[in-house]
Amino acid sequence: MTDVRTEEPRTVQGAPRIGESAPRPDGIPKVNGSFAFSSDLWHDRMLWGGTLRSPHPSARIRSIDIGPAVAVTGIHAVLTSADVPGSPTYGLEHADQPVLASDVVRYEGEPVAIVAADHPDAVRLALDAIVVDYEVTMPLVDPGVAESSDPIHPDGNLIRRIHLRHGDQEVVGDVVVEGTYEVGMQDQAFLGPESGLAVPAEDGGVELFIATQWLHADRDQVAACLGLEPGLVRLTLAGVGGAFGAREDLSLHAHLCLLALHTRRPVKMVYSREESFHGHVHRHPARMWYRHHADRAGNLVRVEARLLLDGGAYASSSGAVIANATCFAAGPYRVPSADIEGVVVRTNNPPCGAMRGFGAVQVCIGHEAQMDRLAAALGMDPVELRLRNVLAPGDRLSTGQVITGTAPVAEVLRSCADHPSAASLPGDPMSLPGGAGRTADPAHVRRGEAIALGFKNLMFSEGFDDSSSAICRLEGGVATVTCACAEVGQGFVTLAQQITREVLGVDEVVLAPAATATMGSAGSTSASRQSWMSGGAVQAACEEVRVRLLARVADDRGVDPDELVLVEGRVVSLSGDFEADLASVTAEAIEAEVEFRHAPTSPLDENGQGDAHVSFAFSAHRAIVDVDRDLGLVKVVELTTSQDVGRLLNPLQAIGQIEGGAAQGVGLAVMEEVLVLDGRIRNASFTDYLVPTALDMPPVEIAALIEQPEPGAPFGAKGIGEPPCISSTAAVVAAIRAATDLDLTHVPVRPTDIALAGA
């Protein structure tokens, strides 16, 4: 050993900042099994809860007899709608969904009663023992006749209609193509089932540990149902096993709190996978009719569309989903004239709501199929046709809104289209369609290639008053950040640390738990908004701490604060007179709390016009597929993508989002559909609802991540979570069309759509 002292390195290894691939702070607990997900919670005195669900999609409840259930050994509570002390209904946009059904049930799986017992077996016995006398009624399952059918809910069967009209309504193109498309119901299929633990508090309130996307919206809805002040309902984020939109609505939240308050015992509930399929909203199935007009040179002249989404039994976020579908129906193209009607209706099918891509996924399948049809009608190259029409900064959307931010659409498309493919022809039979089944005859396998382009808004739209709050506390050189942002796997916790290090130059950043009792709302972890909103709140709180710190040091030293800078964790005077490390000047803590808002937006007017959106992100995918025409089997061989990211905050996490989103897009293209027959889900399991495995997923080649910093966004970064699952589905389906010369208007493309085409 030598005794040489060296200067401390100023950029400490393992403390990366903005733009670097910082590791997740929860990475080690997640790989060693110690990370506590909501289903891992445990309390010594806890009971187990369970839910009785309607077996019918539509029925009147004549009576409920809980007597036999109460008699089950080990049962502590059996509750029905009569036991809900506050609002009998809840909902994200409209409180139209019963906490527990009282007089009617409107979908298969609707909660009717809840129980708590000291063992899950007692829960099951008690649920079986409850006697519900149903008068079964004919379910309304066809969204096409919902508006003309008797209302199945006091709020009526129309959830929202938007009729967007833009530009000259009389114009007609030289070339007109028309198409009708259908998209099936997709499940978010997060792996961590709905679960949580409610603990009654001594002040008459309740603590709820829960996996969710938006703690404060949950709190307000639960408190209303419990008849409690919101301050008495305290939510803390428990480990979230994925979300993808399915945790935006309440599921078991109010049920757990009701049981805990009733029994005065902690209560835990965990949904089974089958129950999870019934317990959360899905991506809306869509029926879409399109007519595209263009001149002979390939310039889009007019787009007409009729969009019908099936909202299922309750409204959830359907109103916002149809707004997105309508606003983005024409795709990221200049459209001088548009007539687009978007309608979302109520049926007795499973409720639909938020899923990653939120309305933009369905219409991308439609507008991209139309662009390919138009290219064929014009005899043009599909990429060339798109490039001729893509949006650019300063252009207007069909909503009349002018794009004031960045819109590198041509760059995204061109870079993706020009990227060389690494795909080779299948060698191993495992690489053929059908894979391990080794069913495909290689001589009959045909390859197809196609490209698709998509876009979506970032953040909430239509004048929503959106905000996030963060507290930064700097003490002894250690920063502690508190924010109620729900970490659902996307990596906000990593970004919060990177942002704090970037602004304050600290190495150690502690993240306090996300909870309603300690913090204001961070808004929802959805709409690709948290990097911008909660990232912005963390940045602003850290900036405020920096300002106060420099003011304090300036005051102590009797210098002008402008003479001081914070460099690499040290306060340094520009004159070079002194230098102090952060730990020494923050022995006494400095704390700042900031509420962050984006620029305001406007509602849509009666013609669907208005500056309704904050910002937009664009992506392109190119898909190469092999198709066995005889058996209708598809192998997705390669996906190539480019994306508009504003600025990369963490390259490794960005790749994770881009690959993961593409997998959900591949799933929707070729295998994922919740099959609903007469209002009943037929495949509520991972045996029957297929999601892509490692053998189904192709390599995802990232051609380019276009960095054009977005004005107003923290560090110029756009949200990156949703675009990967927007254009990916459309590209894969288009490639299958290219391989088969079939129209293939239903998504997902089913083997029968190919093998039995024309039969």
Binding site: G33, S39, F190, G242, G656, S685, F686, T687, A694, V700
Partner: protein, 165 residues
């Protein structure tokens, strides 16, 4: 039917399981009786692999195995893959590669990859892409699209090779 107390050997330690119902799955007993919730409960019908553990070195879905069938065998869970405070090669590789997002599939996938690397021939070659994909195809991941997980397998294979030589 209640079984007499039986003993399960998990991660090198003997655990007495009193008053157990004979029909309880190994997953249930690990999670709810032995306080080892690292093995996850995503489908409980053997489709997702998130409950994967090793029994005598063989990869199984613990949701499909009766706990009582594990008597006299060696059960290894994610909690026992490395000594306390340390990370096994596969665990390190998952963190380094960015293979973890929500993390719910992670313990099961790590157990699957650990088993795969144990079973691969020790000839210094990189594991074949199709063999790796097949080996982890019983483990669903909804966040990553598998790209970073495949990268983690590659890193872990290198780490294990270095450890052997």
């Amino acid at each position: 039917m209640s079984a007499g107390p039986y003993v399960l050997r998990v991660n090198g330690n003997d655990h007495e399981v009193p008053d157990a119902h004979l029909g309880e799955s190994l997953l249930w007993v690990l999670r709810e009786r032995l306080g080892l919730p690292g093995s996850k409960n995503a489908c409980e019908e053997g489709e997702c692999g998130s409950c994967s553990v090793q029994v005598d070195g063989e990869l199984v879905c613990s949701c499909l195995v009766l706990a009582a069938a594990g008597v006299g065998r060696e059960v290894t869970t994610i909690e026992g893959l490395a000594p306390d405070g340390e990370l096994a090669d596969v665990q390190r590789a998952f963190v380094e590669a960015g293979a973890v997002q929500c993390g719910f599939c992670t313990p099961g996938l790590i157990m699957a990859v650990d088993t795969l690397l144990d079973d691969l021939p020790d000839d210094g070659s990189d594991p074949d892409d199709l063999i790796v994909r097949e080996a982890i195809s019983g483990n669903l991941c909804r966040c990553t699209g598998y790209g970073r997980i495949l990268e983690a397998v590659s890193i872990a294979a290198d780490l294990r090779r270095e450890n052997r030589t």
